[in-house]
Amino acid sequence: MEFVVISLLNGITYGLLLFMLSSGLTLIFSMMGILNFAHASFYMLGAYFAYQISTLVGFWPGLLVAPLLVGAVGALVERYGLRRAHRFGHVAELLFTFGLAFVVEEVVHLIWGKVAVDYKIPDELDGTLFTLFDTAFPMYRGFMMLVSVGMLVALYALLTRTRIGLIIQAALTKPDMVEALGHNVPRIFMLVFGGGTALAGLAGVIGGNAFITEPGMAAAVGSIVFVIVVVGGLGSLGGAFIASLLIGCIQTFSVGLSISITDVFALIGVELLEGSQVARLTITQLAPVLPYLLMVAILIFRPRGLMGAREN
């Protein structure tokens, strides 16, 4: 019971963090047709920027400044890179972001080295929020949840309550029409790309110290975020939300379960042959593969994703 509640809370925290990434990715994809391969690289940049700022002036300024810096980098990338690549079509754009991810990783190697940096949780938040049965729920997880939910509410308000939000929503489905109505679509694109990457940066700021800040973090999170977008349905914010929480929970739960495949099959009355390598694997060992298995299952049984409306 306590395992379930704690895992659920952790899963939701992680899921919300993933949604901060997948929502930005979805917005950028829906609007510009670009699958930003480097999205997780901006997440990594957020973490490293925040680390650098925290060593100089502390965590709190970084919480604000690092995402803005990341967003600025994103806007510059859109203005001087993607817009140019756009002339050569979607494959060139995708390849550009792919190359960018490559370069960002190397730059991070160059500046911060190849091993993890010591990006610490601020002292104010380093403690226990509450204790459930015998397990403590850290205060920082609560803070992460707070920031994520706050961010989501702000994003929702921005998209539904403001003029620019309405234009963005319109451009999601009919970019040509929006352009015809006289809106500066390139500038909106730059804004959306900058905004989406800033969101990824914020996720990096609050995720980097909760998990780990290292050059491999972008690749590790990046493929998971892609899985989320495929599972949720390409271009669907609602689908991305559900898939983020689902995968957040799957990963959290599976890490904590040490029963083996044999035990699982025993539950449903099937005896596996003793001794085979598969039979001895535990759920924990399987954890890294589960999101991908989910993706494969979705592709076979519901190819357009959980909430996806359009095919390609």
Partner: protein, 425 residues
């Protein structure tokens, strides 16, 4: 039949290349160069197989290393299983088994990935690639864990026409034979109904459906066949390096093959071969000089995407067209004039990157940070502003000059291209 695969001029070209490939080790006897050539041969097959998807079918895959890696592991395990029972002939044929493993993987994984095309296909291949990579760490019995699986390509005491494949130069001969066979097979494939319909599906999947073709089936078959050739390349790598690690099937390897094919030119059959030669040589030469090699490579790739998305092959094709039209002479002085400022700019940028690299990581280890470094024999003090300002100034001058002269190059280029197309019409 003028468009036959084995037309006289094409036969001459293939024959010439084969002769050159066999002659190279006779001239260049250094072991280093022969290993380099082996690597190029393997990468050429691998990247050609990749281009069957990207260039010919329009499928951008981020997980192609899976087929390469599984082919390598299958070959290695079979090599070890046969052990003393085999001989040079079985060893020489082992890459075919690697190909079959790649083909089998193509059937299983392609069934899932080819349900989609376009961007979704790209994302799914990434996910599938990660899944296989994660699985490989889960089964150390098969994939050898961190250390990988190793073996010995020399089995038994017999020889095949005097060959045991033990010496690197013999291995090189084997690689050349396989690489040629695969290249000819892949080229022949482009000249078949399936190969042509793959182009059609790339250009316009909807139309392909309305002339009677199931686009999913076309993509699926192309993935399977490309998996076969990737598997052969993997099998060759297993024999060549005599070790296979989990890295052969991870995302990094998938990324590298994409970069190679793209830089070479995905619009041309031979583009990936150019890419394999260029990137492998760069990797060995520049990689031997600086730790920042991957950064340079990444920047070079971005530059190619933005400036020459057709790759090196497209540049060659355009120059040849200019030459045939008698216009190349008009462009040459401009190329030469642009080379200098670009070199200055490059020197400045490289200086900045190298200085930064030396300061931040240094030779003493990560994070140690050196205070002094040697560049071209000069002892530079990193703590002082001198070297930095110099590099910065060189970069600045390079930017200004490149913009100035580059603008003139561009207008001349556009004018020349206009003349070229005007002549054609």
């Amino acid at each position: 039949m003028n468009s036959a695969i084995f037309s006289r001029s094409r036969l001459a070209l293939w024959g010439g290349c084969l002769a050159l490939a066999f002659a190279l080790p006779l001239v260049l006897k250094s072991g280093f160069i022969i290993s380099l050539l082996c690597q190029i041969g393997i990468m050429a097959v691998f990247s050609l197989s990749y281009n069957m998807l990207l260039g010919q079918t329009g499928l951008l895959s981020f997980g192609h290393a899976v087929y390469y890696g599984l082919g390598a592991f299958a070959t290695m395990h079979l090599l070890n299983a046969i052990g003393k029972g085999g001989g040079p002939l079985t060893t020489a044929l082992l890459p075919f088994v690697g190909g079959l493993a790649g083909l089998a993987a193509g059937i299983v994984l392609g069934y899932v990935t080819t349900r989609k095309a376009g961007t979704t296909f790209a994302m799914i291949t990434l996910g599938i690639g990660e899944m296989v990579a994660a699985c490989s760490l889960m089964f150390p019995g098969i994939f050898g864990g961190e250390g990988g699986v190793s073996g010995n390509r020399v089995v038994g005491k017999e020889t095949l026409l005097g060959f045991t494949w033990g010496p690197q130069v013999e291995m090189y001969g084997l690689i050349v034979l396989w690489a040629f066979a695969c290249t000819i097979a892949m080229f022949a494939l482009t000249q078949t109904p399936l190969g042509r319909m793959a182009n059609a599906v790339r250009d316009n999947p909807e139309r392909a459906e309305f002339v009677g073709y199931d686009t999913e089936r076309v993509r699926f078959l192309m993935v399977i066949l490309s998996g076969f050739f990737a598997g052969v390349a993997g099998g060759l790598s297993a024999l060549n390096y005599e070790i296979v690690t989990a890295e052969t099937l991870n995302a990094h390897t998938s990324g590298v093959v994409l970069l190679i094919a793209f830089v070479g030119g995905i619009g041309f059959f031979y583009g990936p071969i150019i890419g394999a030669i260029l990137v492998t040589v760069m990797q060995i030469v520049i990689g031997g000089m600086t730790h920042a090699w991957l950064l340079y490579f990444g920047l070079f790739f971005l530059f190619m995407v933005l400036v020459a998305p057709g790759g090196i092959a497209s540049l060659i094709v355009v120059q040849r067209a200019l030459w045939q039209a008698g216009l190349l002479g008009r462009m040459l002085p401009h190329y030469a004039a642009t080379a200098l400022p670009v070199l200055i700019l490059l020197a400045g940028l490289v200086g900045l990157i190298e200085l930064g690299y030396a300061l931040l990581t240094g030779d003493a280890g990560v994070g140690a940070g050196d205070t002094a470094t040697k560049v071209l024999g000069m002892q530079l003090q990193l703590g002082t502003p001198g070297p930095w300002l110099t590099a910065l100034a060189v970069t600045g001058i390079g930017i200004v000059l490149t913009r100035w002269i580059g603008g003139r190059l561009r207008s001349e280029w556009n004018a020349t291209l206009a003349t070229l197309h005007g002549d054609k019409a």
